[in-house]
């Protein structure tokens, strides 16, 4: 270990600038963690999903649905079988979302992908098991089977649940959803605008 570190140490007369440069990189990295609310993604708080405003339609429609009382985003959209698959799914989904959002690739109407659909279907059944008891619907299916006509997803019939059927990026103008906390901490704001 020591060997590796000493192998990349810069020449003596470079050390000062290198220390500053690496601190700048680390600082920038911390700043990005802060302005992107990075730690909120570890939680189950639905507000984490509207860190990016493209999800406002989904948030607003969920917030006004009956599911809002019992389930938040992650309860349906993230696997709940074990923590490892939960965070693995979050990481892969989250990386794609941040890539799409950063490069402005989001479509006007966001639609669920295969992996997401399968997870949601399992989560419907996780809570509504008793309602499905002993009906043919209780058989677990995935997107491939559903497209082959073997079975149906819950929302093939329950089309309004819970996001409604009107859901483009512009479907909820002036939706009243929680606003992002400012990245500048309160004490610093108070310092710069004394009351």
């Amino acid at each position: 270990m020591k060997k590796i570190i000493s192998s990349i140490l810069p020449p003596k007369n470079w050390r000062g600038p290198v220390i500053i440069a690496s601190a700048v990189i680390t600082g920038l990295f911390l700043l990005i963690l802060r302005i992107s609310n990075a730690f909120s993604y570890l939680s189950d708080d639905p507000r984490a999903c509207i860190n990016c405003h493209v999800m406002t339609t989904e948030y607003a429609s969920w917030q006004r649905s009956s599911h809002a009382r019992v389930a938040a985003c992650n309860d349906c959209h993230v696997p709940q079988s074990n923590p490892i698959s939960k965070y693995a799914f979050k990481a892969s989904d989250g990386l794609r979302h941040s890539f799409m959002f950063t490069f402005r690739l989001e479509p006007q109407v966001i639609q669920i992908k295969e992996a997401g659909a399968n997870v949601v279907q399992l989560n419907c059944m996780r809570c509504h098991e008793n309602q499905l008891h002993r009906t043919y619907l209780s058989k677990t299916i995935d997107l491939e089977e559903r497209d082959a006509g073997i079975g149906r997803f819950c929302w093939d019939c329950h089309r309004e649940t819970p996001h409604g059927r009107v859901k483009s990026l512009s479907a909820y103008p002036y939706a009243r959803v929680p606003v992002l906390e400012p990245a500048v901490p309160e004490w610093l704001q108070d310092l710069s605008n004394p009351k």
């Binding site: 020449p11 440069a21 990295f29 405003h53 406002t56 479907a171």
Partner: protein, 490 residues
Amino acid sequence: MRRLQDIISEKPWVGWVLFLSTLVIVFLIGVFGASIVERRAETRFLFNASKPIKEFEPRNEVWGDAFPREWETYLHTIDTTFATKYGGNASIDMLERYPNLVILWAGYAFAKGYNQGRGHLHAIEDVRNSLRTGQPQPATCWTCKSPDVPRVMNKIGPAEFYKKTWADLGPEIKNPIGCADCHDPKTLNLTITRPALIEALERQGKNVKKISHQEMRSLVCAQCHVEYYFKGKEAKYLTFPWDDGITAEKIEAYYDSVEHVDFVHYLSKTPILKAQHPDWEIAQFGIHSERGVTCVDCHMPYKSEGGVKFTNHQIVSPVMYISSACQVCHRQDEQVLLKNIYDRQDKVRQLTGTAEEILVKAHIEAKTAWDNGAAEDEMKEVMTLIRHAQWRWDFVAASHGASFHAPIECARILATSIQKSEEARGLLAAILTKHGVKLPIKMPDLSTKAEAQSYLGFDIVKFTKEKAQFRKEKIPEWDKQAEEREKNYK
């Protein structure tokens, strides 16, 4: 492994490559950060009004420019063609429909004229035209009528506002109930603009700042659709009588304790309490409210138009759009749901009618007792019973939609009203017998509004003429002053 130091001292260009690549990395991280900040900032523009609205902007059409969909639906409150069995947005002459009311309010302006309210857009016009206004009355009567009210209150303070006369503020109050009554112009969040509600909630120890959005969807309505009174002979300070609770009995006890009297009954000499419109209070006891359904959920249901979903601002009886108001939760046919509504209303109306008939008898019997020499002492208990019976009947009768909002609570209150009237009549029978009056007392013909008003000796033609005169003299002047003022708005 060779040390980096050694490599660089041999080939200095490696150092420069490291320097430049670090530079590029820092630059890219910076650009990434800037992009996050930019996308955060977009939220502000995407979900806000297209142009800023000034604080206390009373003109609804200025808000309307920024919110065309809400504005368009709001304009529909001008409609007066939709009548349900008991309400809707058509103007119904309630005295014509229920002539007993003329007798119950004898001695009060309500006996002159009482029409079922029309949509919010008519608020100013209707209050100017009512036979109950135009006489000396405090400016407090304007409080619920216009977004000009918070504007004027901001200038002169609520206490000063209430102290003025209604005619003083005539030119100030121009715009009918609208946007600024419920919305914060900056955030568009729901907000309470009327001090009376904030004060009532604070007296109950509630933190007004911590009210949830869902609760606000009822409380913005509770700024006006509630029971209230004007506290103080001079101050006329608008006050909600909720300090002991919001049931009919609790409010009655509150009014008794402050010895509030709205008018002394012309026939029975009873110090009467006139219920205003305890819509919000009674609704709190209904099953919808208990399940967390708010006023807005049914009276302003969501609507979608061209892929955009928004709240319908045509505030009206939900019977108008059962599909979007009721069927969002209830799966039954419209016909079945309508029957469910009318069944409840019919049954409560039956009880309300019974309570009215008995109260009318009690008032007329009390008048006969006075006419035949009954003493103040003998009549004291009778008057208390009539006061309470009439208050409880009025609490239900004056509350818009109460018979649907909370039919069981209505039936409970009416049952106590009927019981109290009958108890009063029992005492009256003894008093009348004692004074040698033969029972039963003959009741006058009260089959129409005109009959009932002529029984009281009303000259309704005179009132109507006075009103026409008032309209001709005052209204054009008020409108002119208001127009002058609004020219100076930016």
